[in-house]
């Protein structure tokens, strides 16, 4: 039987899980505790429906109810509230847990020396509204989000992949995408360089960077223990003696009856 694979979350699993461990939460402070943020929030909540707002580690976090409100909020932030820079935006993948992405925008106001984060959730097949018309920095940020998560930004002038090749399949930062790449990834270079016909000749690309095969004489250099390329592994069966330095600390002490000692009583 094939081992069970979680299709929705193909990431490395935590080795040890404590069922009774309850993670502490990062404290969420009231927005009223900060004057500037309280004013900002009051202005924003007039324009858009705010689901939740709190201050975490000194930054205001606003969670919007409706994804289409972001354009109005961004306009307000830039023109009225002096948050002139969109310093970062991207998404979090919660598809496996609750079936949605969480998109976040990180704004900076140099005048007020404040940072603010706006978030909202979208379903897998939903798109976000592009902020390109308001913040130019959204240009590449939205492209990267599209590349990494497959989230489309409506009305973006040039929405195409930015870090991955244009003809790549899959979106690498989704939790369903394995760390070493999916089925298509291992054939990508072979297909582009040699063509599909050569798949059988070349074989799939080895994408596991941790893989070490000491018996492989085709692809691995055996420094200090070189053998001809493609040699039969049976011809060079080695034991630990090969690695023993002269006069060095013995790697393995072989058991001999002569050297054995029987204790008469325990210490």
């Amino acid at each position: 039987m094939r081992a069970y694979q979680d299709r929705k979350n193909a990431q490395a699993k935590v080795y040890y899980k404590d069922r009774f461990y309850v993670s502490p939460q990062l404290p969420k402070e009231e927005v009223d505790s900060d004057e500037v943020f309280a004013k900002d929030l009051a202005t924003i909540s007039k324009k858009a429906e705010v689901k939740e707002a709190y201050i975490q580690r000194g930054q205001l976090v606003i969670i919007l109810e409706n994804r289409h409100d972001i354009v109005a909020v961004a306009k307000l932030l830039k023109e009225k509230l002096t948050y002139t820079q969109l310093s970062e935006m991207s998404a979090n993948d919660f598809l496996a847990d609750r079936g949605e992405f969480e998109v976040f925008y990180q704004f900076l106001s140099m005048e007020k020396r404040k940072r603010l984060r706006v978030k909202y959730s979208i379903k897998e097949d939903q798109a976000v509204d592009s902020l390109y018309d308001i913040y130019k920095s959204a240009d590449w940020a939205e492209r990267e989000m599209y590349d990494m998560f497959g989230i489309v930004a409506n009305e973006h002038p040039n929405l195409k992949r930015i870090l991955m090749p244009d003809d790549w399949s899959g979106h690498p930062l989704r939790k369903s995408y394995p760390l070493q790449g999916d089925e298509d990834a291992q054939w990508y270079e072979i297909d582009t360089i040699f063509g599909k016909d050569y798949r059988e000749v070349v074989g799939p690309e080895i994408r596991d960077t941790k893989r070490i095969d000491p018996k492989d004489t085709e692809n691995f250099a055996r420094i200090g223990k070189e053998v001809p390329r493609g040699a039969n592994p049976k011809d060079f069966d080695e034991n630990y003696d090969d690695f023993q330095e002269e006069g060095g600390v013995p790697l393995i002490t072989r058991f001999t009856k002569k050297n054995q000692k029987t204790l008469t009583d325990r210490k």
Partner: protein, 410 residues
């Protein structure tokens, strides 16, 4: 639509038959002046750039993905490979972000803070020297390249003596620093920073009034303050447009609120102004290190924060205290479990605002880490900055923006 095959490949950005008189030049990705793997598709009308399309991603290693598949401490050496010119600033940005997530920022011992700030400023000097060297080389000043690399070599020797590595330092740990300064290190550092101002004066003597240097830098790569902010610029690129925004000053971290330094600003908006700015910044870094040296001897010899829940206890208690050893074992094999929540922490790296967004779901592996590398945003400005400039200035502008591909592609 062309039918692509192996003999006639399909390039979506290139049109071979066009009616207008423009020419398309493919700059890079293997161009010595591209400062890494930058492919720039330039549409030229005569010698003037009509449209510039930067194409990045040739060095993409998926660091954000890697981060989601390892414990917090494991990821730290990977951050070296972002801005490999000044690796410690990445290590520090990451360590600070995790510390703020854990809430142990204040528990970092003072000696560790002094050492970290010293290393950060030393890295800033290394990075700026490297910037000047390569930028001058691009513009055609060979001797500056050699001089700057000579001084950078001394700084890298200092780094090597501290942490054993010259480029990929990993000189900072979450919760402190791994090592104390070697005996005699401070004297060497002092010797370096006493000599450096003379060297900077030498560079300025060679470049400031140099006719070729001025002709190639003045009024080249102009970007207004509004545009720089709009495109997400930070660091020297933003200050070169007259915006006095330095995160060390505005949102002080580490010891920067105790230190006295100025934030140099240039309002000429051009490459020459930014060059002057870089030179001033190096002088400020020297001043900061000068203030840090007397601080060092006044500190207790403790290097790591004392939070056994998240950070392994010192060696001595590991060897004597059974519970400390158990906690250490759990931290090494399973990793720390930060609280559920998210932080965005920005630090002023030599290139600009280096931000780490960490989303933790209480597991030993982070749920998401977003690396906000300044060069990524500075490369996107090229679309705006290059239009209307001459092809000879393209190299100046790319060099002047101080972009490093390790952090653009991550």
């Amino acid at each position: 639509m062309q039918t692509p095959n192996r003999l006639k490949p399909f390039y979506e950005n290139l049109a071979f038959e066009r009616d207008d008189n423009t020419m398309i030049v493919n700059f890079g990705p293997q161009h010595p002046s591209a400062h890494g793997q930058l492919r720039l598709i330039l549409e030229l009308d005569g010698e003037q750039v009509v449209k510039a399309t930067p194409d990045v991603g040739y060095l993409h290693r998926g660091m954000e993905k890697m981060a989601e598949n390892m414990i917090y401490n494991e990821f730290l050496p990977t951050t070296d490979r972002m801005d490999y010119i000044a690796a410690t600033s990445n290590n520090y940005g990451y360590a600070l972000a995790v510390e703020r997530l854990l809430g142990i920022e204040d528990k970092v011992p003072r000696r560790a803070k002094v050492i970290r700030t010293m290393l950060l400023e030393l890295n800033r000097i290394i990075s700026h020297l490297f910037w000047l060297a390569t930028h001058a080389l691009d513009v055609g000043a060979m001797s500056i390249f050699l001089y700057c690399f000579r001084e950078r070599e001394f700084a890298m020797d200092l780094m090597e003596e501290y942490c054993g590595a010259r480029l990929t330092h990993s000189a900072v740990r979450i919760g402190g620093v791994p090592l104390d300064l070697a005996p005699g290190w401070i004297e060497k550092l002092r010797a370096f920073i006493t000599k450096l101002p003379n060297d900077i004066a030498d560079y300025e003597g060679l470049l400031d009034q140099n006719r070729i240097w001025k002709m190639r830098l003045e009024h080249v790569g102009v970007i207004s303050a509004e545009k720089a902010i709009d495109w997400g610029c930070s660091g020297p690129t933003l200050r070169g447009s007259g915006v006095a925004w330095d995160i060390r000053k505005e949102e002080p971290y580490e010891l920067y609120d105790e230190l006295e330094f100025k934030v140099p600003v240039s309002d000429t908006n051009d490459s020459y102004g930014r060059y002057k700015l870089y030179m001033q910044e190096m002088r400020e870094s020297i001043k900061i290190i000068e203030q840090l040296i007397p601080m060092y001897s006044k500190t207790e010899p403790k290097l790591m924060a004392d939070v056994p829940e998240y950070i392994s206890a010192p060696k001595e208690s590991l060897m004597t205290d059974n519970f400390a050893l158990m906690q250490h074992f759990v931290l090494v094999t399973q990793g720390m479990r930060p609280p559920v929540g998210e932080v965005y922490v920005a630090t002023e790296s030599p290139k600009g605002e280096l931000g780490f967004y960490i989303n933790s779901q209480g597991e030993p592996y982070p749920h998401r880490i977003k690396l906000r590398a300044p060069s990524f945003w500075h490369t996107s400005v090229l679309q705006e900055m290059l239009v209307g400039t001459y092809i000879a200035d393209v190299v100046t502008i790319i060099g002047n923006l101080n972009i490093v591909f390790g952090e653009i592609d991550r």
